[in-house]
Structures are given as structure tokens and as C-alpha cells.
């Protein structure tokens, strides 16, 4: 038996996978990793990840091997180091597999000029799925672990590491994007041409009131010419909804399942991952695609 203990949980550390589907009609949000590009890359290094990825934001977690050994890989742009059992310190890099032995501690300090990072574990973390997914929705209390990770959480990984060979891939090109091509939202016609012009030509700032549910933007007020109150309908991640204060919110992975605000536009799938990595105060712009 191999086991690891969370020695420092970091901020907003949760278990995530590619999402929980087929339950949104029962009020269950899709959730899943905020930046799905990174866990897609980590699959190449740790193919047998069992869909149990650890997601962290800003301040990363520290994990220590209590018993046995584990093989892991970190994805994202972050500072980290390994405190070996014999007190020596080792440098380590994202997108390169890491072997950790009893007493070794991986310390992820923080993400650099980005928000989210991930750890993949060979053979997973010994978790059971919840509604066919390992993802965590902390607001709804749904998940293999239905809350953020805490200090002292312990995971047991019954299978032993398959090989100590170090595997690495070139650092993926996850360049920072601040201009987003968006498609018209279902309520585009709730906004006048002038307001749409403000949406396209305006600069919006990501505020610190942003989380896995949504990214709140600050910018020129986008007031609807019809109403900011629509009959609730199904919504998708990436939708940009505008409540009555005119300040848009980009809905992210832990979306409410139905919503009653008009949606001016929607991001494409990869841009949901891209925008999730922009820290507060980042300035962004939108381009509206008319033909799609």
C-alpha cells in the first residue's frame, strides 16, 4: 500500500476530471477542470491517471509520501520543489514525471502569471466516482470528495508505481490570450447595436470576485434594451450573462444549471480554459463572430 498526506492544502484545491455529464437536467453542474488543456497534456505523461486530478489555484498544495512511493506529474506554470527524506532539496519542473518515495514532500509554492495548476497521480488517488465523475462541485457538495481538500487529508493508492522511468513532454504552448472570439448568445437581440458596439470595442477587467462558478468582469455597463430578467433556461459554461447592473459574468465550470439573465455571447470550449488562467486585473477584449 502507498499513501500520501496533504501537508498544506493550498487555496481552492479540489479533485477534478473532464466533467460530470448527463445530470444537468437534475440540477447537477458539469464541473471539471477549469483548464482542460493541462489535464489533456498530463494524460500523455501519466496515462493511467484514473481521472483523479488534483486542481489548485494560486497557492499550491504540499503533499508528502507517508508510505511506499508514488509517481506523479504537475501541469501548469508554477514554482515547486521537492524536500527529500534526507533533507536535500531537489528542483523539479512541470510536465516531467516525478518519483516520490517515503518521506519525500512535493511543495508547490504558487502558480506564475496564471491561476490553475494540476497534479496527475499514477493509478489515481484511490477514490470512488460520484455520479460517474470524480469532479468536485463545492457549492453543491457533490464529488468523490465533496469539499475542497484540507490539511491532513490522506489518500491510499493500492497499486505500486509501474516504472521509475522519467517521462517528459515539451512544455505545451499555453500562451496567454486576452482577446476572445465569441459567438452570439441566445439573447444577443436583447442588446442594442450601440451596446453591442460597447461590448466589442470595450476593455473589460477581470475582478477578484471570480471563482469556479464564474468570472466577473468590470467595464462599460451593458444595459439591455429589453430586460435583464428572462425566464430561466439551460445554460452552458462559457456563456457571458449580463445581470441588471450591466457588468458581464463569464460562466465557468460550476455553472448553475439554469439561469435567468440574458446571455450576450458565448466563448468556445478552448477559450473557457484560456480565460480561466487570467488573474484578477487582467484586461480582456471580445470579438463577435457573426457567421458560425
Amino acid at each position: 500500500m502507498n499513501s500520501i498526506i496533504i501537508t498544506r492544502a493550498g487555496t481552492h484545491s479540489t479533485i477534478q476530471d473532464f466533467g460530470r455529464f448527463q445530470y444537468q437536467h437534475l440540477g447537477v453542474s458539469p464541473s471539471g477542470a477549469m483548464d482542460q488543456r493541462i489535464i489533456t497534456e498530463l494524460q500523455k505523461i501519466i496515462p493511467n491517471h484514473q481521472n483523479q486530478f488534483l486542481e489548485f489555484a494560486y497557492v499550491g498544495p504540499s503533499i508528502k509520501v507517508k508510505e511506499g512511493s508514488v509517481k506523479i506529474c504537475v501541469g501548469g506554470n508554477c514554482n515547486m520543489s521537492i524536500q527529500k527524506n534526507n533533507n536535500s532539496q531537489l528542483e523539479c519542473q512541470p510536465y516531467k514525471s516525478i518519483n516520490l518515495f517515503e518521506g519525500d514532500e512535493l511543495i508547490i509554492h504558487n502558480t506564475i502569471d496564471s491561476v490553475y495548476g494540476y497534479i496527475a497521480f499514477e493509478h489515481g488517488l484511490g477514490l470512488e466516482p460520484c455520479l460517474n465523475s470524480y469532479s468536485t462541485d463545492t457549492k453543491a457538495g457533490i464529488g468523490s470528495i465533496n469539499r475542497p481538500l484540507n490539511d491532513e487529508d490522506i489518500f491510499h493508492i493500492s497499486k505500486d508505481v509501474s516504472s521509475w522511468d522519467l517521462i517528459s513532454i515539451p512544455k505545451p504552448d499555453l500562451e496567454k490570450v486576452t482577446n476572445f472570439k465569441v459567438y452570439p448568445g441566445p439573447q444577443l437581440q436583447y442588446f442594442s447595436d450601440n451596446t453591442l458596439q460597447s461590448f466589442i470595442s470595450g476593455v473589460f477587467t477581470i475582478t477578484n470576485q471570480s471563482d469556479r462558478m464564474g468570472i466577473r468582469l468590470k467595464g462599460e455597463s451593458l444595459i439591455s434594451s429589453k430586460s435583464h430578467d428572462i425566464l430561466s433556461e439551460g445554460i452552458l459554461p462559457g456563456s457571458i450573462q449580463v445581470p441588471s447592473d450591466g457588468q458581464p459574468i463569464v460562466l465557468m465550470r460550476d455553472i448553475p444549471c439554469t439561469g435567468g439573465y440574458p446571455k450576450i455571447a458565448i466563448l468556445n470550449e478552448v477559450d473557457i480554459s484560456r480565460i480561466s488562467q487570467l488573474p484578477p486585473e487582467t484586461k480582456i477584449t471580445f470579438d463577435l463572430q457573426t457567421i458560425y
Partner: protein
């Protein structure tokens, strides 16, 4: 037929549009269509019915476009539609005791009726489950008798107790667990309606009929102690 057509929702979603009105008959068509679309076994990630829309999401635009034709054909081919009903009729115990009825006075005052009238009116109607949304297992039920129609609270409550019964506009609901929310709370039911241990985690499904009956606090506490599973609740309280 209320169905108006199929529109795109971004690069990977579709919206089946049933107009801008809301009524039980529109919802019945939406919920029958939801079953028909579900039975197509499309490569969809989620199919989300609401009052007058069904949103379908796919992994990418290519799969979306391939599946759009299948949905269009199904919508045109009215003969092949199953009008098979797979809904349940529920009789749900409700305790309107003042400990639970946090906002009943707002409804009394607005509509100039007594507490007993609120209870009698609320428990007199066989409600239709429009859809499940807002939070896991949360049923939108309606319509409440016109004397109970009340707007949402001006300032939403930060913490509504689990299992609370609420009224907002012409709808009534049950909060499956503790949540912030703006509905006027008038009572509580004695069991949980969403269970993650079950492969069918929501007690109520779109199209179900729900009628409440008033129980005393002691009766409420008695039922509460049974800790019914969803399967036991189906046996005890539905037909």
C-alpha cells in the same frame, strides 16, 4: 405543437425553442420532447429542459452539427414520438408550523388571507413539475392558486434551511439542501429529496405531479426519524 425551431447556442450547443410563454401544456410538450430526444441516444453531454426551451450540449461543433439533423428529423416525424408517460404522482407531507414558515406572514399580508387559508390553498393543488434546476434536485412546481402569488424576497436569504418549501411568483418549490435563495418560505418537508448514493439521485422528475398535505410538528418529526431512502419514499409517497 408549440415547437418553433432549433437554434445554435455557441459552437457546441443547440436550443429547441417552444416560444416565450409559459404554461403547463407547453411544459408537457417540452418534457415529452425531452424524453424523445433522450431516447435518441445522441452523443450529447447534457440535455436541459426548462419552461419553454431545451438546451442540448455536445463535445464540439462537428458532433453538434451531425446530431442536429437527427433531432430535426425526430421533431418532424410526429408519428414516431412516444407519448408514453413515465411520471409519478406524489402526496408529500408538509409541515407549515411557524418554526418553518419563515415568510408566511408576507404572503398573508400581501394577499389579505389568514395563515390557515395559505395552508389550505397551498395543499389544495396538484402541482406540475415544470423542471429540475437551480440546484441538484430542486423542483419548479406550479401553478400556485392566484391568492398565493407573491414576488421573490427583495433581499434573498443567505441560508434557507434544507427541505424548505417556498413560493415565488406563481411557482412553489422545495430546497433539497441548505442554500441562499429568494423564495418565500412557508413550511418544510420531513425527508431529503436528493441522494447521491442513488443512480437516480433526484426524487422528483420533470412532469411529476406533486400534492402537499399538512402534517403536525409531531407527525413531521416522526417521519423525519425514519430516514427513508429514495426507493422507500417512492413506495410510501407516490403512485
Amino acid at each position: 405543437m408549440y415547437f418553433k425551431g432549433i437554434n445554435s447556442y455557441g459552437d457546441r450547443g443547440l436550443v429547441l425553442d417552444f416560444g416565450n410563454e409559459t404554461s403547463k401544456s407547453i411544459s408537457q410538450e417540452v418534457n415529452e420532447t425531452f424524453l424523445n430526444i433522450s431516447n435518441l441516444n445522441l452523443q450529447s453531454l447534457n440535455i436541459i429542459p426548462s419552461f419553454n426551451k431545451i438546451v442540448v450540449i455536445f463535445e464540439n461543433s462537428k458532433i453538434r452539427d451531425q446530431n442536429k439533423d437527427k433531432i430535426s428529423m425526430k421533431m418532424k416525424d410526429t408519428n414516431s414520438q412516444t407519448n408514453k408517460k413515465v411520471t409519478k404522482a406524489w402526496e408529500i407531507p408538509a409541515c407549515y408550523n411557524e418554526d418553518f414558515a419563515l415568510d408566511i406572514k408576507i404572503i398573508q399580508k400581501l394577499n389579505q388571507i389568514t395563515k390557515e387559508e395559505v395552508i389550505n390553498l397551498h395543499s389544495s393543488v396538484r402541482y406540475y413539475t415544470y423542471y429540475i434546476g437551480f440546484m441538484p434536485g430542486f423542483p419548479y412546481l406550479g401553478d400556485v392558486p392566484s391568492q398565493l402569488i407573491t414576488p421573490r424576497l427583495a433581499t434573498p436569504r443567505v441560508k434557507i434551511p434544507a427541505r424548505s418549501i417556498g413560493i415565488a411568483k406563481n411557482h412553489t418549490c422545495i430546497y433539497p439542501k441548505v442554500s441562499p435563495g429568494g423564495w418565500n418560505i412557508i413550511g418544510q418537508i420531513p425527508f431529503d429529496i436528493f441522494d447521491l448514493q442513488s443512480s437516480y439521485p433526484s426524487l422528483f422528475l420533470p412532469g411529476d405531479e406533486v400534492k402537499f398535505y399538512s402534517v403536525s410538528l409531531s407527525e413531521f418529526e416522526k417521519i423525519r426519524k425514519y430516514n427513508f431512502s429514495l426507493n422507500e419514499l417512492i413506495k410510501e409517497y407516490s403512485s
